[in-house]
């Protein structure tokens, strides 16, 4: 992150105005160094906006997607960041609903990460849909039988919830809080955040599931098609499980990265172990469920629609090693490392395991998006290669740059890791 290194204790005159926006007692790098660190990301973001503009102005012919490859890099990005952003709703759920107060120090950063992930995903979806001016059609004329409708509704509502959760953090900025109306509104909204956390949990639960479900119902794509319970294919549940397993790991990685860059201890080490344990246990459950699901799919579901399991894995690079990597290397191994006491107490192992867990979820989303569409399903079909156009790559990079910029600005000017309100006040020695 650009909020880089520890600073000179004495700010120069040019930093005075900037310092007024930084929370008292917080040390941040000088404004010039901060802006210098951000500048490459601003360039990437500008390129991303230009590429997105081309796609919106000229249409989706700017991409390498077509009728067969209707899902590409953008959908992979959407699924990936929405899964990784699940830390926001899951942490809110643990803190406000299950009353796990020990996770409070990471709550603000979870909200900001969630906000970045979901707003980035919605931005990319707007480009991908290609007709942003008609985006309201999906709300006004909803197809209630479509998983995508549920996804659209839930993601839109949840982004609204995340905005409302982000506002109290934003209003705690040193200058904004000087406006009494802002401070009082922040106070009142903060009191209602548990309601928002509950709504967010409901929405996230359904849209994470529906994102998985929309693959599971693709009868014409047997690589993704799954049996399930009632109207929900197994991928519905696997997506929820994998998202809540990887969310805490992603939060750990983000926090550790910020700690490394700023050379400061931002949260207690026990919190990392707690997040790691939660992530590890959920990942173990996910791996078990995924393994059972894979066995059922390979032996029952797929043969029933006329596909032998080996047919999916004869096309390079989508061989069986990917399946092995997904379940063992990026699933079982990190689950073990995150929960085994000896490795979980060592920061290096813990963070490596968290990185593996996140990589596993990204690989899962990549495979479900790309391999599903690449594998031929009809006799006259061929294995299809897809390489994203530069406009797709630039938009993708633009979203990443957007995330880095928003997080860096939030870290610099907002109390992301400050003790929660009221908790720093205590009485001792009476």
């Amino acid at each position: 992150m650009a909020s880089a290194a520890l600073t000179d204790r004495r700010p120069t005159d040019s930093n005075m105005a900037d310092r007024k926006w930084i929370a008292r007692g917080e040390e941040r790098t000088s404004l010039s160094r901060f802006l210098l660190g951000l500048s490459p990301w601003v360039v990437v973001l500008a390129l991303g906006i230009y590429a997105a503009g081309l796609c919106l102005y000229y249409g989706l012919n700017q991409t390498n997607m077509d009728n067969r490859f209707a899902f590409g890099l953008w959908i992979f990005l959407d699924l990936g960041i929405i899964a990784l952003g699940a830390g926001a709703f899951f942490t809110g759920f643990l803190v406000y609903i299950l009353k796990r107060a020990e996770l409070r120090p990471i709550l603000n950063t979870a909200v900001v990460v969630g906000f970045i992930c979901y707003s980035g995903a919605v931005a990319i979806l707007m480009i991908d849909v290609g007709q942003p001016l008609r985006a309201w059609f999906t709300f006004w004329h909803p197809n209630t039988h479509s998983m995508l409708t549920e996804v659209t509704f839930c993601i839109s509502c949840y982004l609204l919830v995340l905005c409302l959760e982000y506002i109290p953090i934003l209003l705690r900025n040193r200058q904004l809080r000087k406006l009494p109306s802002f401070l009082v509104f922040e106070h009142q909204l903060h009191k209602l955040v548990p309601v928002l956390a509950g709504v967010g949990t409901l929405l996230s639960f359904f849209h994470q599931g529906s994102l998985g479900g929309l693959y599971g119902v693709l009868r014409g794509r047997p690589f993704a098609f799954r049996a399930g319970i009632f109207i929900w294919p197994s991928t519905f549940f696997l997506f929820i499980l994998s998202a809540i397993a990887s969310g805490p790991s992603f939060l750990m990685l983000i926090t550790a990265t910020v700690e490394k860059v700023t050379r400061r201890r931002l949260v207690p080490p026990e919190l990392f172990r707690r997040l790691g344990f939660i992530s590890g246990v959920l990942l173990a459950i996910y791996v078990a469920a995924k393994s059972i699901d894979t066995l059922i799919w390979l032996n029952i579901t797929s043969p029933s629609v006329g596909f032998a399991p080996w047919q999916y894995y004869i096309h390079k690079p989508f061989g069986t090693p990917i399946l092995f990597a997904e379940i063992v290397l990026f699933g079982l191994l990190p689950a073990f490392l995150l929960t085994y006491r000896r490795t979980a107490t060592r920061r290096g192992w813990l963070l490596s395991a968290a990185a593996l867990a996140c990589a596993g979820i990204l690989l899962n989303r990549f495979v479900l998006t790309v391999q599903t569409l690449a594998v031929p399903t009809l006799a006259f079909d061929e294995f299809l290669q897809y390489t994203p156009s530069w406009q797709e790559v630039a938009s993708f990079a633009g979203v990443i740059a957007y995330g880095v910029i928003v997080y860096s600005l939030s870290y610099r000017y907002l109390p992301l890791f400050a003790p929660p309100k009221g908790e720093s006040t205590h009485v001792s020695g009476d």
């Binding site: 204790r9 008292r24 006004w140 209630t144 509704f153 509502c157 809080r177 009082v184 720093s424 001792s428």
Partner: protein, 274 residues
């Protein structure tokens, strides 16, 4: 979306899905409306000012939130949990009867026994006629020296306790001085008399409870000695460890004498700014 809109059907899927959706949307809207309504209510019932101060107080470092009884040496350690509002502190009378065992050494700063002190470095001097005078204490005065500009409120304006009483500018830094008491301004002292405000307190100053939240006697000494200690650490030369003082008194116009110090932090700590 609604009955009558193209695509809507009276089917279970439509009714259940859309009902759930509208329930969620209504919950979100109700949450925002509730927050706005409560905010308006807080302003209407004058609770907003108190909320703002409590929010600011909660953000102060623990070292700034020490109880007055700790400063006077009546208790070993106690963090104030009542936003410095000793008027309504249940523990006040329990500790106030204990003997003070604070410092006796001279601090090199003048503070008078007929004045009461607020943690935001203002003094309060009650007069016989039921009015009080408010001014900047000597430590703050020595820090700032002569301000570049000063923005005093107008006569007749209302002061709220712990909110901004007046603003000053010095070397590009804006300083907001917190009001030690609530009341109506009835007089303003200019540069020749030393900047001060004369106010008629909203509550009766003859009632001991009205001025109870202000520091006095040994509490002032304990508080100022800690403030001086903090200041000494904050204005030390860059990249040097804290050192013991070797005597001397605080000079006037420290901001001019040490322009390179981190005045942003020093002023925030001195005037209880967040």
């Amino acid at each position: 979306m609604f009955p009558g809109i193209d695509g809507f059907h009276w089917t279970v899927a439509h009714v259940v899905f859309l009902s759930l959706f509208f329930a969620v949307v209504l919950t979100i809207i109700a949450t925002v409306v509730s927050a706005v309504w409560r905010t308006t209510h807080d302003f209407r019932t004058h609770q907003a000012i108190e909320l703002c101060w409590k929010a600011d107080f909660a953000e102060l470092p623990e070292s700034d939130r020490r109880c007055r009884h700790e400063l006077a040496g009546r208790v070993i350690s106690r963090t104030c949990d009542n936003a410095f509002d000793c008027r309504h502190c249940e523990k006040y009378s329990q500790f106030a009867v204990l003997p003070a065992t604070g410092l006796g050494a001279s601090l090199g700063l003048n503070f008078s026994d007929d004045r009461l002190y607020h943690r935001g470095h203002t003094w309060v001097k009650p007069a016989e006629d039921g009015t009080v005078t408010i001014g900047l204490d000597e430590l703050a005065d020595h820090l700032i020296g002569n301000p570049d500009s000063i923005n005093m409120p107008e006569i007749g304006a209302e002061l709220e306790i712990n909110q901004t009483a007046w603003r000053m500018k010095k070397n590009g830094s804006e300083i907001q001085v917190r009001a030690p008491l609530e009341g109506t301004i009835i007089g303003i002292g200019g540069p020749k008399e030393g900047w001060y405000l004369k106010i008629r307190p909203r509550l009766d100053p003859r009632d001991p409870k009205t001025l109870r939240h202000l520091l006095r006697g040994p509490e002032v000494r304990g508080w100022l000695s800690r403030e001086l200690e903090r200041l000494q650490l904050q204005v030390r030369a860059p990249n040097t460890p804290p050192t013991l003082a070797d005597g001397g008194v605080l000079m006037r116009g420290l901001m001019d004498a040490m322009p390179d110090a981190d005045w942003n932090t020093v002023l925030a700590d001195t005037f209880l700014e967040i």
